[in-house]
């Protein structure tokens, strides 16, 4: 296939889709499938036939729109009518009233406009709109036109210039400037060069990368192609969690389609540019998200990090220059190439441009997947997009950045979200988990929960992380059993900071964050546990209470 053919496919597909008056998009992502989305899809296919409207209705299987708590979700175009909690029984009514009679079924529509109002969708631009199993759908939305633009009109240096200018920073959590990383790999003389796309979303409570892969796999592939062209890589790997079967299937299909259209292979779009990629499966190790650990895992070894330098840009997979990027970063690339770095740099804040996807969960009215411009405040996310706390309970804390993020108090809700501001208050951007906690939670138990997680996930290579976290865990066990002493607070603070300073990789360096932030913002709860043996959430001291009850 040649460059010009792609344009033809796009035009043909747009005409093909225009022939339908309505398009019924049924979300069939991992969030909706367990709750019957596939049955809903089948019911729609049958219902449009039953009412004889199959020629004007395209029923499509799509990815996630983000409203994961009210699935299965269905969008009917034109007009973007979003139906929530659709069951196969309700499908006939929707087709009859909405499609045949032209009267949307109001009581089933998702009425919460606030959920979408402050969102801005760049990465998730096609999520919920296209059928991820059809490459034509992606092409019709302008897909693969960015790699065409690169190959036809831009030099690799030109591509890196645009990405640098965009101000894009790595979405995996650390926020390293993407353009800078690309030029490091491009300048490295050794060959072959590799690209590793990180889709090992190990943070419990986070599902943004999975949703992206399920909803728009070609956006990841196109991002990788452009990156490969810019840095001179010939081979790529997508490292994906084995726990994401649907995302794996979707990507496998996408790769096969891209190969068939010669978008991957020895001669991409019949140019001298050569690139192909493979999937590699993770196996449930949180630490494998760390960039040197992911390399060890792709090479088939235990995912244990190593000291840097040498940086992967110089010595990565099998000692060769390797570009490691999170898939969310890569999905931004086609948009940057199409619209220019300058355009992208105006979105978000001056130091952190663009958007960020967040998995919004916890005691909140509208949990789901959101994409917001950088610089939005936590208050807007929690109370406007998230719709506030469930059951109208008071807000207590918001955990930002996954199990090694920070628990922030109400006083910090007006903090604009970006890499730097979050780090300043003891949290991290991480992979974009926001968990909202109401007043019934116990912050000591919450910090203990995350410590337990990090103890289990520590790879054991360096002492501060391996032994230090176990010490911290022991202190927590004492406090929550009613055996805590006031010195324990100082000990937690000291050990936490020590682990942070002395650990080898990002896991150990961030693992004490929940402990340190709860100590900083919710210290009185620790004191209550130690002095008064009181737990506001009623989670701790259970053994003690049981013993007392038995004695009586």
């Amino acid at each position: 296939m040649k460059l010009a053919d792609l344009q033809k496919i796009a035009e043909h597909e747009v005409d093909f889709q225009r022939a339908y008056k309505h398009r019924i998009n049924v979300c069939c992502s991992s969030g909706c499938v367990p709750f019957g989305a596939l049955k809903v899809l089948k019911a729609f296919e049958e219902a449009v036939k039953e009412f004889g409207v199959e020629k004007e209705c395209k029923v499509a299987r799509t990815g996630c729109v983000g409203t994961c708590s009210v699935g299965p979700a269905v969008i009917i175009e034109p007009g973007d009518y979003l139906y929530q909690s659709v069951t196969p029984e309700k499908v006939r009514e929707i087709v009859r009233d909405h499609i045949v009679l032209g009267l949307p079924v109001k009581e089933m529509l998702y009425s919460n406009e606030a959920f979408f109002k402050k969102q801005q969708r760049l990465v998730l631009r096609n999520a919920g709109k296209i059928d991820p199993s059809r490459i034509e759908d992606y092409i019709a939305m302008g897909g693969y036109s960015a790699i065409v633009k690169c190959l036809a009109t831009m030099t690799p240096q030109g591509v890196i210039y645009e990405v640098t200018r965009s101000g894009l920073r790595g979405r995996g959590g650390a926020g390293f400037p993407t353009g800078q990383k690309w030029s490091l790999v491009a300048r490295s003389h050794s060959t072959p060069k590799y690209i590793v796309a990180n889709l090992d979303e190990g943070d419990p409570g986070v599902f943004a990368n999975r949703t992206l892969a399920e909803a728009d796999p070609h956006a990841i592939l196109e991002g990788m192609l452009i990156a490969a062209y810019a840095v001179g890589a010939e081979k790529g790997y997508i490292y994906i969690r084995a726990e994401y079967p649907l995302a794996i299937q979707t990507l496998q299909k996408a790769i096969a389609q891209a190969r068939a259209m010669s978008l991957l292979g020895d001669s991409v779009l019949e140019t001298p540019f050569k690139f192909d990629l493979e999937l590699r499966f993770g196996a449930g190790a949180f630490v494998a998200g760390e960039e040197t650990a992911i390399l060890a895992s792709v090479e088939g070894r235990r995912a244990m990090p190593r000291p840097r330098p040498p940086y992967p840009a110089n010595s990565g997979l099998w000692g060769k220059p390797t570009l490691i990027q999170n898939v969310e970063t890569l999905a931004n690339i086609p948009v940057i190439i199409q619209n220019g770095g300058e355009w992208f740099s105006r979105i978000g804040t001056a130091r952190c441009s663009g958007t960020k996807c967040f998995s919004l969960t916890g005691h909140i009215n509208n949990p789901g997947l959101i994409e917001v411009p950088m610089g939005i405040t936590l208050r807007e996310v929690v109370f406007e997009i998230g719709g506030g706390i469930q059951d109208n309970r008071p807000f207590k804390s918001v955990l930002v950045g996954g199990p090694s993020g920070g628990c922030l108090p109400e006083a910090l809700l007006d903090l604009p979200i970006d890499y730097d501001s979050l780090t300043k208050v003891g949290a991290i951007m991480g992979s974009g988990g926001i968990v909202v906690i109401d007043d019934q939670a116990c912050m000591v138990d919450t910090a203990k929960f995350f410590t337990d997680f990090c103890v289990e996930e520590s790879c054991g290579k360096c002492v501060p992380c391996r032994a230090g976290l176990v010490k911290v865990k022991e202190i927590f066990e004492r406090i929550t059993k009613g055996e805590g002493k006031m010195e324990d607070i100082t000990a937690l603070d000291k050990s936490g900071n020590y682990i942070k300073e002395a650990s080898l990789c990002g896991l150990g360096q961030t693992a004490p964050n929940p402990v340190l932030t709860t100590l900083r913002y919710f210290r009185d709860e620790y004191v209550e546990h130690i002095v008064n043996k009181k737990c506001r959430g009623g989670k701790c001291f259970r053994d003690m209470e049981r013993e007392e009850a038995e004695e009586q």
């Binding site: 709750f35 599902f207 590699r280 088939g300």
Partner: protein
């Protein structure tokens, strides 16, 4: 040695497709677990020999990653999601109730091998938290009552939850 059967020939084929490369060890272990349900010593030794790796290397990799199971699971498997969102939504209470009612500990099986209780760190259905997986069915927004009833039904050999 492994028994000569269909599973073995499929495993052999996968190893051959990967050119017996060390870097494909994880893919091969995934496939082996798919075929056999779990990775026992015999199976890991077989893979080590085929890939010309020390058996300790293969065992080391298999034990590092929590996705790989080293023991046969019970007839019915209940998996509780202990991801952050599920933790916040008190999944622990449901897990404790299962442990209490069915006399099984997390990470273990009942002595008769009928029920295993496992933990997973996030299945990614966080907006539906808390999630419990009973056999292959994900129960979202799970409550103690629904889950206990569903496990009881599974053990009695009854049908799926409506």
């Amino acid at each position: 040695m492994l028994k000569d059967d269909n599973r073995k020939s499929m495993l052999d084929k996968v190893m051959k497709d990967h050119n017996f490369e060390e870097s494909s060890l994880l893919e091969i272990l995934h496939k082996a677990q798919d075929l056999y349900g779990y990775l026992d010593k015999n199976l890991m030794t077989y893979i080590a020999t085929a890939l010309q790796l020390p058996p300790s290397h293969v065992v080391g990799v298999a034990t590092f990653y929590s996705f790989f199971k080293l023991k046969a699971p019970g007839e019915h498997v209940v998996t509780g999601c202990l991801g952050t969102a599920c933790y916040v939504k008190a999944v622990d209470e449901i897990m404790t109730a299962i442990e209490h009612d069915f006399k099984v500990k997390r990470g273990g099986s009942t002595p008769d091998g009928r029920l295993s209780l496992f933990i997973t760190r996030c299945i990614g259905a966080c907006a539906m938290a808390p999630n419990i997986i009973v056999d292959d069915e994900v129960i979202g927004k799970a409550t103690k009552e629904v889950v206990l009833e569903r496990v009881r039904l599974a053990l009695e050999g009854g049908g799926r939850r409506k």
